[in-house]
């Protein structure tokens, strides 16, 4: 399945990009996707990274083809 991944802030900096399309095999869970990208880009402090699936922070969902998954570092508005 294809997942549209977006990166923000320090994660975009670590990845060297703000988005990419990943072709994933074997129906990985969201947690597995996170671990994979954390390792791939050596993302620091992974427990502070929140994932949003289709703009929703409730991550108790199964990934579906075409989903948009955002990797969000700690919020710093205001």
């Amino acid at each position: 399945m294809n997942i549209n991944v977006k990166y923000f802030g320090m994660i975009a900096e670590a990845a060297g990009k703000t988005e990419e399309v990943l072709e994933l095999e074997g129906n990985p869970s969201l947690g597995e996707l996170k671990d994979r990208q954390v390792k791939k880009y050596a993302i620091k402090d992974p427990q502070s990274v929140q994932l949003a699936v289709n703009q929703n922070l409730n991550t108790q969902v199964e990934l579906q083809d075409g989903d948009e998954v955002a990797f969000l570092p700690p919020f710093a508005g205001g």
């Binding site: 977006k6 923000f8 802030g9 320090m10 975009a12 949003a52 703009q55 955002a70 969000l72 570092p73 700690p74 919020f75 710093a76 508005g77 205001g78």
Partner: protein
Amino acid sequence: MEKKKPKKIFVQGAIPPEKIAGAIANHQSKTNIGAHSIFLGQIRADEIEGRTVSAIEYTAYEEMAENIYHEIRETAFSKFNITCAHVYHSLGKVKTGELCLFVFTSSAHRKMAIEACNYFVEEIKTKLPIFGKEIFEDETHQWKVNK
């Protein structure tokens, strides 16, 4: 109705002080209002390990931030008896001393205006996916985390 309109909150660069004056002027014809509350976020020249912050560069997951802001706004209008609320947050580079957040709430009486303003500020800081790169005078940087 004003509170049902989808609102854009992001502006490019610093929020000019004239925008605050303009917002006040725009409400002078609304004579059911008896109190405005205003919060202004300003970029502070923090000193961290001998380096001084000169600017913050903001980015955001804009679509998600606007959707969450819409929910915050709906909740604020149901919790507080306010006549209107206006919120602007900067994207891009904002230098120290410049404004990055403008929250403006209005009500018949002070208490609701003040409480609603505080509510917006706290919700914006904790719930909106906005990210800040603190740029130091020597062009190095670190990533801001809200306390």
